[in-house]
């Protein structure tokens, strides 16, 4: 297969798996962050913890990807605990592997998933949830029957942004993934290779493709946003 097609497949797989990981881990995190209890002694600790975690989640927005990549590279080393645990569990190293990229991408795209969802959760009318509770819906039932449909806009935005952001990732991949065909050479890396080799024809295809993809994603996202905003304004 053409190596660029392999890169395309790898990129989509990485973005897809990363988004799935974020849905599973980022959703409860966004919910937890959105639930600020009114000031009382019992909630002081929880609020303080949220005050610390919230900026931590946002860090990847401002940090150079190479900084995140550097620390991850250290963490993935079998000399350090996370890398050691991974190696004893799987027999492979995390650095320069696809799953290493998934971990890096999930951390790097975390704010793009958590923040829109957190905003959406915070805007929920608390009385709706309470009404569902008095009607006999358990907390999990309330989440799937009420909170997910009411926050569908937040979910769509969070999923699209984290997927697109992972597709566009470069620095972190370079730091922790290197450039291994079929394993870590995603589109943005392949583009870099073409430019280095002065193969501008192939570079144009990849660059143009990524540009088009990003534009279409954002265009659709704004369209969905406008439409659903109108649809729910009556509430």
């Amino acid at each position: 297969m053409d190596s660029d097609l392999v890169s395309l497949w790898l990129t989509l797989k990485l973005a897809g798996v990363t988004t799935l990981v974020l849905i599973v881990l980022g959703t409860p995190l966004a919910w937890w962050l959105s639930q600020r209890s009114r000031a009382s002694e019992r909630s002081w600790l929880s609020n303080t913890l949220k005050n610390i975690v919230e900026p931590l989640v946002a860090l990847p927005i401002v940090l150079p990807p190479t900084v995140v990549g550097f620390y991850l590279l250290l963490a993935f080393s079998p000399d350090n605990l996370p890398g050691e645990l991974w190696q004893s569990a799987t027999g492979t190293t995390l650095a320069f592997s696809f799953y290493g990229l998934v971990v890096g991408s999930a951390i790097y795209s975390l704010p793009f998933y958590v923040q829109p969802l957190q905003v959406s959760f915070s805007a929920l009318q608390r009385e709706l949830i309470e009404a569902a509770a008095t009607l006999g819906a358990s907390p999990l039932d309330r989440f799937f029957s009420l909170i997910v449909p009411l926050c569908r806009r937040g979910f769509i935005i969070a999923i699209c942004l984290s997927f697109a952001h992972t597709v566009g990732e470069f620095g972190i991949v370079l730091m922790i993934g290197g450039n291994l065909p079929d394993e870590t050479r995603v589109l943005s890396i392949a583009l870099f290779d073409h430019v280095e080799a002065l193969d501008y024809g192939k570079a144009h295809i990849l660059a143009g493709g990524l540009l088009g993809f990003s534009f279409v994603t954002l265009f659709l996202l704004y369209a969905v946003d406008r439409r659903w905003q109108n649809g729910t304004r009556t509430t």
């Binding site: 000031a39 009382s40 009318q125 009385e127 709706l128 309470e130 009404a131 569902a132 509770a133 008095t134 009607l135 006999g136 819906a137 358990s138 907390p139 039932d141 029957s145 009420l146 449909p149 009411l150 729910t232 009556t234 509430t235």
Partner: protein
């Protein structure tokens, strides 16, 4: 089954709740008090929506909350009607009702069709909440709460977010519901009119404490609200429909009669009648007048607020009481005295459709 709450808690901002109440079974118990008196707090604690340690809530033999137990709200089977309109905005009226019906935990109670009929919802089913008026939304919310077949209903100022016209339309629905149900209803309001219309027993609450517990009949003629313009006496009468003429039905009130225009009353049945204080005037002689209901009473008490234009006179007739709203000018000029016999001329008599139990 009766519902009890014992709570002695201090909340931030110095608000203290100190109550020990048992609400009677199969009745409408009203919690009456000003905003901020603790009414809603009590309801939220009853339903388990707020979890404050150190209180005890029980329903019949089941403990909902004490030092060891906390039953979450979804396991308490309470039909909760909130003050703010809170239908699920993404679901149609039908979808909102389905949501409750799918989660009901026991059979029985009012059926979906019963509720659609009583609350007059059949032609709204396909609409989204955003397309309904406030009154319609609140009727759907009431149907939704009842469709979960609750063991108990609590209503937190359910008419609070509605305008007067919508209130007047919805009150009769609430009364019809009350007659179709055999479960306790706790009704919270600061509006005297709603309380007089719906309640059987009234708990007055002030600054986090229960300050009075009375039947609605006693409540209507006592307490601080009787100086308000909407004050009215609720009295109990017996229907004597054999004496029907001129489209008027005769009601036996103590040892005298009241004539009301009301059809289809069962002879001998006991009914409640509301007599607004502003519709009662006083006269020392039995005048020739267009007013048909004139009753001999004695003056029990005079509430002169000392300022403003009007005062309230409490009148005794047999074992029951009436209120008359008169100007302070007349009060001074006519020199009414306590114990003095006086004729009450009653211009308005409203039959409360509610049956007396």
């Amino acid at each position: 089954m009766s519902l009890s709450i014992q709570a002695r808690v201090k909340r931030e901002g110095g608000f203290e709740l100190d109550v020990n109440v048992t609400f009677p079974d199969r009745q409408v118990s009203a919690l009456f008090g000003a905003s901020g008196s603790g009414k809603s707090t009590i309801l939220r604690l009853l339903a388990g929506l707020d979890h404050i340690p150190g209180i005890r809530v029980s329903f019949g033999d089941t403990v909902w909350q004490d030092t060891k137990t906390f039953v979450p709200p979804n396991q308490r089977h309470i039909g909760y009607v909130f003050q703010h309109l809170n239908l699920f905005p993404h679901l149609s009226v039908s979808g909102n009702l389905d949501y409750a019906e799918a989660r009901r935990q026991s059979g029985g109670g009012l059926s979906r069709q019963d509720l659609l009929d009583i609350l007059n919802l059949s032609n709204l089913l396909e609409k989204l909440p955003g397309q309904l008026s406030g009154g319609e939304q609140q009727r759907v919310a009431i149907a939704r709460a009842l469709l979960s077949n609750p063991d108990l209903i609590v209503m937190d100022e359910p008419l609070g977010s509605l305008d007067q016209a919508a209130k007047n339309r919805i009150l009769p629905y609430l009364q019809r519901l009350h007659r179709s149900l055999e479960i306790p209803i706790i009704y919270v309001s600061h509006v005297v009119d709603e309380i007089l219309y719906l309640a059987d027993t009234v708990f007055e609450i002030s600054a986090g404490r229960i300050t009075g517990k009375n039947s609605v009949i006693d409540f209507s003629v006592s307490g601080t609200h009787i100086n308000q313009p909407e004050a009215a006496a609720i009295v109990s009468c017996r229907v004597r429909s054999e004496n029907e003429q001129h489209s008027l039905t005769e009601l036996q009130f103590e040892d005298t009669q009241l004539l009301v225009s009301a059809g289809q009353l069962i002879n001998g049945e006991s009914v409640r009648v509301k007599i607004p204080a502003r519709d009662v005037s006083l006269s020392r002689k039995r005048n020739e007048s267009s007013i048909i209901n004139v009753i001999a009473t004695t003056i029990e008490h005079i509430h002169d607020p000392g300022t403003g234009a009007s005062a309230v006179v409490k009148l005794k007739c047999g074992n029951q009481f009436l209120l008359a709203l008169i100007t302070r000018k007349s009060l001074q000029e006519l020199h009414f005295e306590i114990g003095e016999p006086i004729f009450a001329q009653i211009k308005g008599v409203a039959l409360m459709t509610q049956h007396d139990s």
